[in-house]
């Protein structure tokens, strides 16, 4: 039982991203920072245990969980039925404000307009799952390893458009690049969940309670404000 284990060792091990700002990246001291990191700390605090952050990539985050090297994966995971067969998901802990961005001269007001265009996206991220569902068949979705690949592909003109978080796009815009990622349309807001191993009802229940409490108390909203620059949406 993972929860008992956490309580007895007084530590919770959490997988967090370090290549996916604003959810997880590193500070100039190479320590992880971001929405997911704050979330992990919040959970640790509520559980009254020490938090051990394990930086992961999209390729190894689930194996970390499955081999019991971490207790939770807080890595802006989106749910889908296949994934739910392998791990359990908590309630949503973060909204995902993401959209399709592109330069001025490309018009794309809705998903159908992506037909025949190339769109860069980070492989396995929520926007990848969503975009794959809604984009027309002729859309050329290019899936890069991490956020940087996606952004670089856009900036170097390898793709017409990118699908990414709006904070990321804003940060890029702030640098005033030759190619400006301006919002075209928002992808359906698909919230992120925390992942944990199957058959851990106690832990699942506990984390869900913490999330619900944090929503009510406004702590979650504070994190959203800090990292996403916006309040949690109403349905949260």
């Amino acid at each position: 039982d993972a929860l008992a284990n956490i309580e007895s060792t007084k530590t919770i091990r959490v997988a967090v991203p370090q290549d996916f700002p604003p959810f997880g990246s590193v500070g100039s001291d190479m320590k992880p920072v971001g929405y997911d990191v704050d979330m992990a700390n919040l959970i640790g605090e509520k559980l009254g245990v020490k938090v051990e952050l394990v930086p992961v990539t999209s390729a190894n985050r689930i194996p970390y969980l499955q081999t019991n090297k971490v207790d939770l994966v807080i890595s802006s995971l989106g749910k889908n039925p296949d994934r739910e067969k392998v791990i359990d998901f908590t309630d949503a802990y973060a909204p995902f404000f993401n959209g399709v961005f592109g330069p001025d001269d490309v018009t794309a007001a809705k998903a159908e307009d992506l037909a025949g265009k190339s769109v860069g996206v980070t492989r396995g991220a929520v926007e990848d799952l969503e975009l794959t569902k809604i984009a027309p068949a002729t859309t050329d979705i290019k899936r890069y390893e991490d956020n940087n690949g996606t952004i670089s592909a856009f900036l170097s003109g390898q793709v017409d458009l990118v699908a990414t978080g709006n904070v990321v796009a804003a940060a890029i815009l702030a640098r005033n690049p030759p190619k400006k990622p301006e919002i075209k349309f928002l992808i359906k807001n698909s919230p992120c969940s925390i992942g944990l191993n199957k058959n851990e009802p106690a832990l699942l229940e506990k984390v869900n309670t913490i999330i619900a409490d944090a929503r009510k108390s406004g702590e979650l909203n504070a994190i959203a404000q800090k990292w996403l620059g916006a309040d949690l949406p109403a349905e949260f």
Binding site: S25, P55, T57, T67, N148, S152
Partner: protein
């Protein structure tokens, strides 16, 4: 919310991470040499089963991506309940991988020793182990130095793949910093430079050793 990194921050973090690159390289090279020697003996020995094993081993480790080997060493072992720490898994996988290549390189060197040396030592009543120990290996090791040093460059670059099991070595640090700064050219430029600074001396010394050896040979 983007982190502010100065150029110095970037370089400093990369150099700090490069320590792991160096350490992992050293570990895998030393470990790989020892295991490689063992594989070499099986490969050139007389026992058919050991020979097959060594062949299969070499085929397996030279025929699959190092990335997958690392993945399976770390998570695969975890899956069967052996909880190895990341450094051990990295050292293990890199060692086994290095060993496969070194064993092959060295086999070539042993086979380069002319048959006359085997025959002369046979006719002096030496046994197989004695021939190896006193006649063949001393000569083979000498010609093995340049290609071995040359291969160490591959080991240094191979350590980059340990990021799959959570190592923040030079390449991984580069990706992490890039994802925080979105300045791929500066970051990867530095990464390339640091790799070059690590590898080039090795390549160069391998070339120089090779040249020396050839000269020595020609003087015969």
């Amino acid at each position: 919310m983007m982190m502010e990194f100065t150029t110095w921050d970037i370089l400093r973090n990369l150099l700090l991470a490069a320590r792991w690159t160096v350490l992992l390289s050293l570990v895998s090279f030393v470990g790989g040499s020892l295991v490689g020697l063992a594989i070499l003996f099986m490969r050139i020995g007389k026992n058919v089963w050991l020979k097959r094993f060594a062949q299969g081993y070499i085929e397996l480790f030279q025929g699959t991506p190092l990335l997958m080997q690392l993945f399976l060493a770390f998570f695969g072992l975890g899956l069967v309940g052996v909880d190895v720490p990341a450094w051990l898994a990295a050292a293990l996988a890199l060692t086994l991988w290095t060993a496969a290549f070194l064993a092959e390189i060295w086999r070539g060197c042993v086979e380069a020793i002319v048959r006359g040396q085997w025959e002369a030592s046979s006719s002096l009543a030496m046994g197989y182990v004695q021939q190896m120990r006193y006649v063949i290996l001393p000569q083979a090791l000498k010609i093995a130095v340049p290609p071995t040093v040359g291969f160490s460059v591959q080991v240094v670059k191979g350590t980059a793949l340990t990021s799959i099991i959570g190592f923040v070595e030079l390449s991984k640090a580069g990706t992490m910093v890039t994802n925080a700064t979105f300045q791929p050219f500066i970051v990867y430029g530095f990464v390339a430079l640091i790799y070059f600074a690590l590898c080039w001396p090795l390549s160069k010394s391998s070339q120089i050793l090779e040249r020396k050896l050839n000269v020595a040979h020609r003087n015969h």
